[in-house]
């Protein structure tokens, strides 16, 4: 496959919302377009976690090597899930196709493909539900919006349900709160019954299951990665930090997405955490076993997500910590907020999180016992427990990207903004319709942050990129802040594509830069080893 090389203006020129295909959607066969889908899962990765039909396969090949009775497996799978999830059953029945969701999806906005309208994405599945699970569908067939399950339909599902990032923006606008993420989760579960996941999801899942994190970092590698950061921090601040790993008896267990340990600019965010914890003298430990906050299992099946998530509480119990602190991540926090306690709780061996520095008790986490680092840091700043010099970030003109999951699956909106306002002097919001609960996905969530689907990612990221472009032109924004590891990994590519010159940062990288540490030497550079504003000459 040739490298993706379409220019942004050509990509945008493809989009025409007023144009719909000549044929009805049921008569329009799915077309696997280059650069818009991920490679198929590898057999060995499915095998590790015991997923069915483990074998190597490719979506571009005619034969998907499905089990003999795949239709039955799908039917049984649907029946089982209808009985388990009221959301699923209800969302199958109550959609009136008003179309309020249609132009809310970033993939539709970026592609103009009608099957990317949330309503139509859901109809791809609903048509099968009607045919096999409702009386009118059985009797009236197509007149009732029903169709037969065929291999074509399955392929269409696979193509379009791996083009939804479960961002829930449609759900905000739906008059019945229909959440396409729920439907996507269900259909992805069905595809997993047939061994049809992507390489980019199943690889990290297998890694996370065996090694504790998506990237497959082994215990000693985690330690040495962090030591690299410590060297850099020492160079920049003159302070040698000595964090601990797998330490029993620490007060706090810290869990963050492994992406922060691996690649820029996430690594700078990790440095920010290390500096902050050192400065306030937090009694905490990292874990190499529970070394992943994110959860790619969430993009395969509920069961897999629970299996991966179980490590966090198990490790907290083994180490005997009092509570858990979570790093900057998006979907990680939807999982921790809405699923973790139900799956793997009750965490009755932990205590309600209490900041040892400010004494603040986090009542909002009194059952999960896990808080978000921006809640923790905002509380520190509010109580004047850390000294900040925002002018060190004066070269940054910052805007903030709300992650889908923290915005619409939690409501973490003001905490990161409060921190940003205290660590830098130039902060501008993007247009109102593109932030907070109306925020746009980076275009690469739910495991779509692969390389081979770059056109899809650039299309999905278009609305976000346009909003950044707006503040770039208006205020000269050059830094896109966020609290999500996937954002840090993917928005850089998006900015390079549409908005050259805009870089990406985690909120705690800026905290690390602004943090005035006791006994530090005068700082010359920021965490990226670039001269601080005013020190360029030196």
């Amino acid at each position: 496959m040739a490298k993706f090389s379409k220019k942004p203006q050509d990509l945008i020129a493809d989009i025409d919302y007023s144009k719909t295909p000549q044929t009805e959607w049921m008569d329009t066969p799915v077309e696997f377009k280059e650069h818009t889908f991920c490679w198929g899962a590898k057999g060995k990765n499915l095998e590790v976690v015991g997923f069915p039909n483990a074998r190597d396969w490719s979506p571009t090949e005619e034969d998907w090597k499905l089990p003999q009775d795949w239709e039955n497996i799908v039917m049984e799978g649907i029946k089982d899930r209808l009985s388990k999830y009221r959301s699923f059953k209800l969302f199958m029945d109550i959609c009136v196709r008003c179309g309020a969701c249609a132009d809310k999806c970033h993939f539709y906005i970026g592609s103009g493909d009608p099957k990317n309208m949330p309503v139509l994405r859901a109809e791809l599945f609903r048509s099968i539900y009607r045919r096999y699970f409702t009386a009118p569908g059985r009797v009236f067939g197509r007149l009732a919006g029903a169709r037969e399950l065929t291999l074509q339909v399955l392929k269409e599902w696979w193509y379009y349900f791996y083009q939804c990032t479960e961002c829930r923006r449609c759900s905000v606008f739906c008059p019945y709160g229909i959440d396409t993420a729920e439907i996507t989760m269900m259909v992805r579960e069905l595809t997993n019954l047939l061994g049809l996941n992507t390489d980019w999801i199943s690889g990290p899942v297998a890694n996370c299951y065996m090694k504790g994190n998506h990237l497959g970092l082994e215990p000693h590698t985690i330690k040495s990665s962090v030591e690299f950061f410590l060297d850099d921090i020492e160079t920049i601040t003159g302070i040698r930090i000595e964090p601990t790993f797998n330490r029993k008896g620490a007060e706090v267990l810290f869990v963050t997405p492994s992406g922060d340990l691996f690649a820029d600019p996430g690594t700078y965010t990790a440095m920010g955490y290390l500096m902050l914890f050192h400065e306030i003298g937090l009694d905490y430990t990292w874990s190499t076993y529970a070394s992943e906050g994110g959860n790619f299992g969430f993009f395969t099946s509920n069961e897999m997500a629970k299996r991966l998530n179980a490590k966090i509480y198990a490790e907290a119990k083994r180490l005997g910590v009092k509570w858990i602190l979570g790093g900057e991540c998006g979907h990680m926090w939807r999982v921790l907020n809405q699923y973790m306690d139900t799956w793997n709780g009750p965490a009755d061996f932990l205590e309600v999180p209490k900041s040892p520095i400010t004494g603040t008790v986090f009542e909002n986490a009194k059952t999960t016992k896990m808080i978000h680092i921006t809640e923790f840091t905002a509380d520190l700043i509010r109580n004047n427990k850390i000294k900040l010099d925002p002018s060190r970030n004066d070269n940054l003109i910052v805007t903030y990207h709300d992650s889908c999951n923290t915005a619409r699956g939690m409501g973490l909106l003001e905490e990161p903004r409060y921190i940003i306002r205290h660590v830098c002097n130039h902060f501008y919001e993007m247009p109102e319709d593109t932030i907070r609960e109306k925020t746009f996905c980076c275009g690469s969530g739910t495991g779509l942050n692969a390389g081979e689907n770059m056109e899809l990612r650039m299309r999905g990221g278009l609305p976000r990129a346009m909003a950044v472009k707006h503040v770039k032109e208006k205020h000269g924004v050059n830094m896109l802040a966020n609290v999500c590891a996937i954002d840090r990994a993917t928005l850089s590519a998006l900015m390079d594509y549409y908005n050259k010159g805009v870089r990406v940062t985690g909120v705690h990288e800026m905290v690390g830069n602004a943090l005035v540490m006791k006994g530090e030497k005068p700082r010359e550079t920021n965490l990226r080893a670039e001269p601080l504003p005013g020190k360029e000459e030196a």
């Binding site: 009386a135 000693h220 299996r307 699923y339 306690d341 909106l413 409060y418």
Partner: protein, 329 residues
């Protein structure tokens, strides 16, 4: 095709009713049997539908949060859009059900000169409100045909509905609103390309049905007239279980009634069940408090996990070499 079939279906239904009463003299069928059946199908069908939904649990608290969460005491929570208590969730649901809060957020996305722009778009919200409230008032007004004496509250609704005292009989705004609302909903289905593309016959059918019901009702009240005293004799017969078929009711009444019966009987098998479903939507009717209060999944089951012990067994040597603490030396 998508429009033709449902349109023909409604026309055929009108013909059936006309032929039934005019040619075949089946007043008793159309005036008594079918209404009873339709009512039973509607009520039992809706109750069973809701029970069917209710049989599946809500395993996770999947609130769609549309505002600031409850967090630190000095950060102002958006208690309605991101409720953490029962009471605020109730308010959120009231706004959703009575005022179509989510639809009010509607935006229109356009591509302008290579830029994506968003504009407020409240038309759907406005006409949806007009349509639904008109429908409700029309329904409530029809109580007059089913009670001996009108409850005071309903008299007030009726007085408000005919507030402008236009014409005789007084023009009901709700009748007009229902028709205008339904026509708007129909027009946007054919005018907006995306909505046209997603529309199914099952979207046009209820609209055509409602439009036909509104038109026959309006014709009866304002134009051709029927003997309303006779109509009330029939309807009172139905609700007191002593059905009669009075003489001299115009056929248009039976057409109207038959269409209404069709709508009611169709209700539980169609998208119209959103009437009940809106109350059950887990993204709206749950408080976002799953970090504060434990939510139980009734089918939660133990799963295979990769234990720390297995992990350490695999990496013990590497861990020891790196100076990481281990459980077993």
């Amino acid at each position: 095709m998508k429009m033709l079939v449902p349109l023909s279906a409604v026309i055929v239904m009108i013909i059936i009713a006309l032929a039934g009463v005019e040619a075949a003299g089946l007043q008793a069928l159309f005036g008594i049997a079918i209404p009873y059946i339709a009512f039973l199908v509607f009520v039992i069908g809706m109750v069973l539908k809701v029970i069917n939904w209710a049989k599946s649990p809500v395993p996770f608290r999947i609130t769609t949060t549309c505002g600031q969460q409850q967090s630190l005491p000095w950060i102002k929570q958006n208690k309605i859009e991101n409720p953490s208590t029962c009471f605020h969730t109730f308010i959120r649901m009231v706004l959703e059900v009575l005022l179509f809060r989510s639809l009010f957020r509607n935006l229109k996305t356009e591509l302008n000169d290579g830029k994506v722009v968003y504009g407020s778009d409240k038309w759907l919200w406005l006409f949806a409100l007009v349509f639904h409230y008109s429908f409700l008032v029309v329904l409530i007004r029809h109580i007059r045909f089913f009670v001996v004496d009108m409850p005071f509250a309903i008299e007030i609704i009726e007085a408000l509905d005919s507030f402008f005292q236009v014409g005789v009989p007084l023009l009901y705004l709700s009748g007009l609103g229902l028709l205008v609302g339904a026509i708007f909903l129909f027009l946007r289905r054919i005018v907006i390309p995306q909505v046209r593309y997603i529309s199914l016959p099952a979207d046009y059918f209820p609209l055509f049905l409602v439009i036909a019901i509104a038109i026959t009702g309006i014709i009866m009240r304002y134009f051709t007239k029927v003997d309303v005293v006779a109509v009330k004799n029939l309807t009172m017969g139905l609700v007191t279980f002593s059905p009669v078929v009075p003489e001299g009711i115009g056929s248009i009444f039976y057409v109207h009634l038959f269409l209404v019966c069709t709508l009611f009987a169709y209700f539980p098998f169609s998208k119209l069940v959103h009437m009940g479903g809106v109350f059950l939507s887990p993204t709206r009717n749950l408080a976002n408090n799953s970090r504060m209060e434990r939510h139980i999944n009734p089918w939660n089951y133990p799963v295979h996990v990769h234990t720390y012990e297995e992990y350490e067994n695999e990496f013990r040597d590497k861990m020891k070499k790196a100076g990481l603490p281990v459980e077993k030396e």
